[in-house]
């Protein structure tokens, strides 16, 4: 008889839900995409309903719910952190019974619930989707229950985590602390720091090494005198500005050379520490494969370095390495514990596990609006040719096709696309479309069979989780970072046919098999999920052309001023509650 398992991560950030049928991942999505609250931490109610709908199951068909951490163990760490100011009201506020209570009351689930430790969820999310028979496993994030870094090995159905670094010593929290010092949001701005690093010099490595002391085996320690995240009010102590000789940067103020140098220094320190610990893990396990997960594993620059300079031959990084991925890890771990055979034999090759929308539904929506649109139903080739032409003309395209991606990256299902050869494109998209900091780089999506011609990469990189040097003879200023690197996504017809065909059309026209690919959202909002989300984002930004399934809306053919005003000033959705705090790591 089939085994249907729901996996859930929630109540911290990036809550998500997935469903496994007999060990096969059928559907997965983050709650933020439905609720439209960035990094929504609430129980993934809408994502749960989506998973049921996508799998054609009712709640009565669910055998188990796997939750991605152990609430009691987490509470013990939260209590310990608060000593000597533990009060009864604080203890009540912890509410470790909440996950089970809300799964019962909010989802209405009546069956068994299993709790999987946070880092085991991360480990399972990577190993069980890696396609490796055996592998070393490294998980690194801010904090789970107590663990912040774990070392382990996977073999068939079994994962053994043999060592862990305990809170408050945490590479993730070190990175977040400097992120906060640099004036970016915690759990939000870490990517910005990584993007800023190539602009700087590693002038503060020595000072940062005062914050982080390597210890024997897998261990390391933070010098807690420089940190204040235990207070729950701020990330760093008054000692840190003194150590670095500069005050903390105020959000949205000018980014000075110091900020770039500090970012670079942090990146260097992180990479060195990860390399050292990866070498240790290799010595302990003797494995040639490495699986990684946890928020720090989203640092694609460090990943590239581990693979290039480290002892492992192959690396698999879970594309949803943040806490959202904990949902699929918890579900997979429970599936394995139940003694069921793992069906996921081959490596995960796509992340299109989110909702899709029928052409009829999209057309019905468009008919309700005042928008002029082109209907290419039944004429996809014509549509692709037209869109490729628009890209070559320098237009920015909103691309909405098929099932939404699971995880933090847009990989050609909910993407903004542009010509990577256009020197002004990066600034234009950052300023006019994404409305974000100008220094932030964009990634290229390249046809898998052409990747070696343009990048120093000899294997597929379908999830934008590695950086490598650009080696193309084509000038690609919009996707080449200041240090000559790029964060590459390889695309093939097997996993995303429309996207691959579009890039081929673009290549036919221009000789360039590469497109600039960035997430379909604006600063502060989640990536679009539904056709309505895509339309609203299109209207509110300066995207030139929106392609949804086989319908095309061209900005220049529409007068969008009134609609933009309605959405910007009047949309009551703006009045929704804010998402999670970004000024401090919220442990409670």
């Amino acid at each position: 008889m089939g085994l249907n398992i729901i996996g859930i991560s929630a109540f911290y950030h990036d809550s998500a839900c997935c469903i496994l049928r007999d060990g096969v991942l059928i559907a997965a999505a983050q709650e933020e995409r439905f609720s439209r609250i960035k990094a929504d931490a609430s129980l993934p109610c809408q994502a749960f309903l989506y998973c049921l709908k996508q799998s054609g199951l009712a709640i009565t068909d669910i055998d188990l719910i796997a939750y991605y951490e152990d609430p009691e163990k987490k509470a013990s760490r939260q209590i310990w952190s608060r000593i000597p100011e533990v009060s009864s009201s604080f203890l009540l506020q912890l509410d470790p019974g909440r996950p089970e209570r809300e799964i019962r009351e909010v989802l209405g689930y009546e069956g068994p619930i299993r709790f999987v430790e946070h880092h085991m969820s991360h480990a399972a999310s990577s190993f069980f989707f890696s396609g490796f028979d055996t592998s070393a496993i490294l998980t690194v994030d801010g904090v789970g229950e107590w663990a912040t870094t774990t070392y382990g090995a996977g073999n068939g159905n079994a994962i053994h985590l043999f060592e862990e670094v305990h809170f408050p010593h945490s590479l993730g929290l070190l990175y977040s602390t400097i992120t906060s010092f640099l004036g970016f949001g915690v759990n939000d701005g870490e990517y910005k720091v990584m993007g800023l690093a190539p602009y700087g010099k590693p002038l503060y490595v020595k000072q940062l090494m005062d914050l982080l002391q390597p210890e024997a085996e897998g261990q390391y320690k933070l010098n807690m005198g420089y940190f204040d995240f235990l207070s729950g009010e701020r990330m760093f102590s008054d000692a840190l500005p003194g150590l670095l000789g500069h005050p903390a940067r105020r959000p949205d103020s000018i980014i000075a050379p110091f900020h770039k140098d500090l970012s670079k220094s942090l990146q260097v320190v992180l990479e060195e520490m990860l390399l050292e610990k990866a070498r240790y893990l290799h010595r302990r396990t003797g494995e040639k494969n490495l699986c990684m997960a946890g928020g720090v594993a989203l640092n694609c620059v460090a990943n590239g370095r581990i693979l290039r300079d480290g002892p492992f031959e192959k690396l698999f990084v879970q594309p949803a390495s943040n806490d959202a991925g904990g949902a699929i890890g918890a579900a997979m771990a429970i599936h394995a514990v139940e003694g069921r055979a793992l069906q996921q034999k081959k490596q995960l090759d796509h992340v299109y596990f989110g909702p899709e929308f029928a052409a009829d539904e999209i057309e019905q929506l468009l008919k309700s609006t005042s928008l002029q649109y082109h209907n290419y139903r039944g004429s996809r080739d014509l549509m692709l040719s037209m869109v490729a032409g628009k890209l070559a003309e320098g237009l920015v395209i909103g691309w909405f096709q098929g099932r939404m991606e699971f995880g933090p990256r847009s990989l050609g299902a909910r993407s903004i696309l542009a010509d990577p050869r256009n020197a002004t494109m990066r600034d234009r998209i950052n300023a006019m479309v994404k409305k974000r900091e100008g220094f932030r780089p964009f990634a290229p999506a390249v046809l898998e069979d052409k990747v070696a011609e343009h990048f120093q990469l000899d294997h597929p990189s379908p999830f934008m989780l590695e950086t490598c040097q650009v080696s193309s003879t084509i000038d690609l200023p919009a996707i080449t970072h200041v240090d000559g690197s790029a964060r590459v996504q390889t695309v093939n017809e097997h996993t995303n046919l429309p996207f691959a065909l579009l890039i081929r059309e673009f290549e036919k026209l221009t000789g360039c098999p590469i497109l600039l690919n960035t997430s379909f959202n604006v600063k502060g909002e989640p990536i679009v999920c539904s056709p309505e989300d895509a339309l609203k984002c299109f209207i509110k930004t300066d995207i030139d052309c929106l392609v949804m399934d086989e319908f095309v809306i061209i900005r220049s053919e529409n007068s969008l001023h009134a609609l933009k005003l309605i959405l910007e000033n009047y949309d009551i959705e703006k009045e929704k509650r804010a998402g999670i705090r970004h000024d401090v790591y919220t442990f409670v």
Binding site: C45, E72, S76, L92, A562
Partner: protein, 699 residues
């Protein structure tokens, strides 16, 4: 350190198990609070501070201070542009020239449904400026839709920068929300309320909430008194009245409480009988049943409303007024969601008492309207919805304010009322009716009141037909209101400018409703002026919502009305029936059989019960529903279906429910969470539905 780890783990186990009282937790907490485990900190060096620019703006609501040509101007601040729609449509507040009255208040003071074309400030200004020697008298309109008591407190202070000669406060409808939205209760008060809830002493709960509201009002008025005394500015309170006659408690405001023993069943049965007796005119019987309802649950408005109806039919207005006020006041006991705005008796009483204490002037609209109506009950003749006045009501209120105000400035009372009274355009009045109809519809008001507003509108203005046609098209569509072409047309043609700049028509995300009853009220009203849109609406409804190739999910917001999918503190992802009948609509393009896939349960019962399904009022089936989820597939043969709208009723069994355990309520929750949860547990569900999909049988 090891000891602190193990103590933390022990404490976590206790907290997770939910077995500890607050006292025990305090003891354990004091045990664990030893020396800090932090590593020794290095010597901190002096903090380097960035140059943070000081906030250069003084602010009054959305207006910030700017200096131009040597003048202090308050200019609308673009940082708050999204909120401009909630305030007066005035870009600049210039320095004072003559006498200045500042009006503070809520949407009722905003002139909801008329503003910015007509509102209390405009009316009062017009009155004043018609008085000889008062031409330089100005009324600065600082009223804001949705103003809370906390916002009012801040505004009461910041408005002093405008150097007013009189402050008018026309508010009180939103003040009780402070009881639910802010941390106003002490831990002790919350515990006391929770205990009263657990013992099902609902009147005690109501009294505690009334007392707390009075305390909040007193605090505010004391603050106002200190401002008034310090600056020598007189204050005039205008106490709002409620639409006692024509506004019915919403379905959410009259859900059945879980009463002790079998009293819930008795209450339901008495309610059914009272309604039937009222319909057949058996007033003494209806009165008896209504009295029983009140005795069983004095915090449910329905018994009072039925009993008031008996008295109204006997023209006993004073008794009816008292009962309708009691019905209104029951809502202070929160029934899962916030009630519609209203000024509770405890609030009115406190304003009157404290005004006397502090020497504030008062216009008591309940008394003013009573006098105006010769003792009859105020209703649609003065109101458009629960508390918002129609133009007659606004004029009457401002007449009263003017009468109080004039002597304060030594004005001579002249016959200025008739000369200053503005004649409003028929378009303005018609649109006010129609926009109010949309609000009435959203709050589940009876078809009769929807018909009234639609008919009033078509009678007086041709613009009504345009609005109704566009609105019906808008309401039928699945797309978000903001994206619909018809909404854009409504805005472009200025048809909703007087409803918070058009935003009143928007829905929250994923919560768009079909407004089916209102659409049909509009169709009927249009037919009276020779316009027939029935056919095109039917086509549109079928196209957008019809059961065709893909199943239709009847749990989407379009197809069910007034269920509560939101329990206190958290939304739920399934349907909860807080009434014994659940009603759904679905649309058929053709007369073909359909399947209903339904996953349901009757929680908190020993074995569930029997639910009856009715399709278009004809019984279909009676089915066993367990106390755990179960999935059933039900065939609706084509004979029972009709082309167009089909109405599916599920009648849940009454019968007692198992009450929650107290310990479970307290488990791991803060006191405030516990209160919310205790309120939630008062209102048990009669049935719950996780899936309800309708799909056509494939031919």
């Amino acid at each position: 350190m090891n000891r602190s780890y193990s103590l933390a783990a022990e404490l976590a186990r206790v907290v997770t198990g939910g077995e500890a009282s607050a006292v025990k937790l305090d003891t354990l907490a004091s045990l664990i609070n030893g020396p800090s485990p932090d590593a020794a900190a290095p010597e901190p060096t002096p903090v380097l501070k960035d140059n943070e620019p000081p906030d250069q703006y003084d602010r009054i609501g959305i207006w910030s201070l700017k200096q131009q040509e040597g003048m202090d101007l308050y200019v609308r601040d673009t940082r708050f542009a999204a909120d401009w729609r909630l305030w007066a449509n005035q870009h600049v507040i210039f320095p004072k020239k003559g006498k200045r009255v500042v009006l503070l208040g809520e949407s009722v003071a905003r002139g909801y449904f008329y503003d910015p074309f007509f509102n209390p400030a405009i009316e009062l200004r017009s009155r004043l400026q018609a008085v000889e020697g008062f031409t330089d008298f100005e009324v600065v309109d600082l009223a804001k839709s949705g103003l809370t008591l906390e916002e009012l407190s801040r505004l009461s202070e910041s408005c002093l920068r405008l150097d007013p000669d009189l402050i008018i406060i026309f508010a009180g409808n939103n003040w009780a929300y402070s009881l639910y939205d802010s941390p106003v209760f002490s831990e002790y008060e919350i515990q006391s309320l929770t205990n009263a809830l657990h013992s099902l002493d609902l009147m005690q709960v109501k009294e505690k909430l009334d007392d707390k509201l009075a305390e909040l009002v007193k605090n505010y008025m004391a603050t106002m008194a200190s401002f008034s005394a310090r600056h020598g500015i007189p204050v005039l309170f205008i106490i709002p009245e409620y639409n006692l006659d024509s506004w019915k408690s919403t379905p959410l405001e009259k859900i059945v409480a879980g009463l002790p023993e079998d009293n819930t069943d008795k209450w339901i049965a008495a309610g059914k009988r009272a309604k039937r007796y009222l319909q057949s005119g058996r007033l003494p019987d209806a009165q008896k049943e209504s009295e029983q309802m009140i005795a069983l649950d004095p915090t449910n408005p329905l018994g009072y409303e039925y009993l008031a109806e008996c008295h109204l039919r006997n023209e006993k207005y004073e008794e009816a007024r008292h009962l309708l006020e009691s019905a209104r006041d029951t809502s202070i006991v929160k029934r899962l969601t916030n009630h519609t705005p209203r000024c509770f008796s405890s609030c009115r009483r406190t304003i009157l008492e404290q005004s006397k204490l502090y020497g504030f002037h008062v216009v008591d609209l309940p008394a003013v309207f009573k006098d105006h109506l010769g003792g009859k009950i105020p209703g649609r003749d003065l109101f458009l919805d629960y508390c918002h006045l129609n133009h007659e009501g606004i004029k009457l209120a401002m007449d009263a304010a003017f009468d109080v105000l004039l002597p304060l400035f030594d004005g001579k009372k002249t016959d200025v009322k008739s000369s200053s009274a503005r004649e409003l355009s028929t378009d303005l009045v018609a649109l006010a009716h129609l926009l109010a109809a949309t609000l009435n519809s959203r709050f589940g008001q009876p078809r009769e009141i929807l018909n009234y507003h639609c008919m009033q509108a078509v009678k007086i203005s041709r613009i009504s037909a345009r609005f109704m046609t566009l609105f019906s098209s808008l309401a039928c569509r699945k797309a978000s209101t903001a994206l619909c072409k018809s909404y854009g047309q409504i805005l472009a043609e200025g048809l909703a400018d007087q409803y918070n700049k058009g935003t009143g028509l928007l829905h929250a995300e994923n919560a768009k409703t079909l407004d089916y009853e209102l659409i049909h009220a509009m169709i009927a009203a249009l037919q009276t002026v020779g316009i027939d849109i029935h056919g095109q609406i039917e086509v549109l409804l079928n196209r957008e919502h019809g059961v065709k190739n893909a199943p239709v999910n009847l749990l989407e917001s379009f197809y069910h009305m007034f269920s509560i999918q939101k329990v206190a503190g958290a939304s739920s992802c399934y349907y909860k029936a807080y009434d014994i009948t659940s009603e759904f609509l679905f649309f058929m393009e053709r007369n073909v059989p359909v399947y209903a896939d339904i996953t349901w349960r009757i929680p908190a019962t020993e074995n569930g019960g029997k639910a009856r399904l009715l399709l278009n009022d004809a019984p279909i089936d009676e089915m066993d529903v367990g106390n755990k989820w179960q999935t059933k597939k039900v065939l609706f043969p084509s004979a029972g279906l009709i082309k167009g709208a089909n109405r599916l009723l599920i009648k849940w069994p009454a019968g007692s429910r198992v009450p929650r355990k107290k310990a479970e309520d307290r488990n791991g929750l803060s006191a405030a969470g516990s209160l919310d949860r205790s309120i939630g547990s008062l209102y048990h569900t009669f049935g719950e539905i996780h899936t309800l999909m309708i799909s056509a049988v494939q031919e």
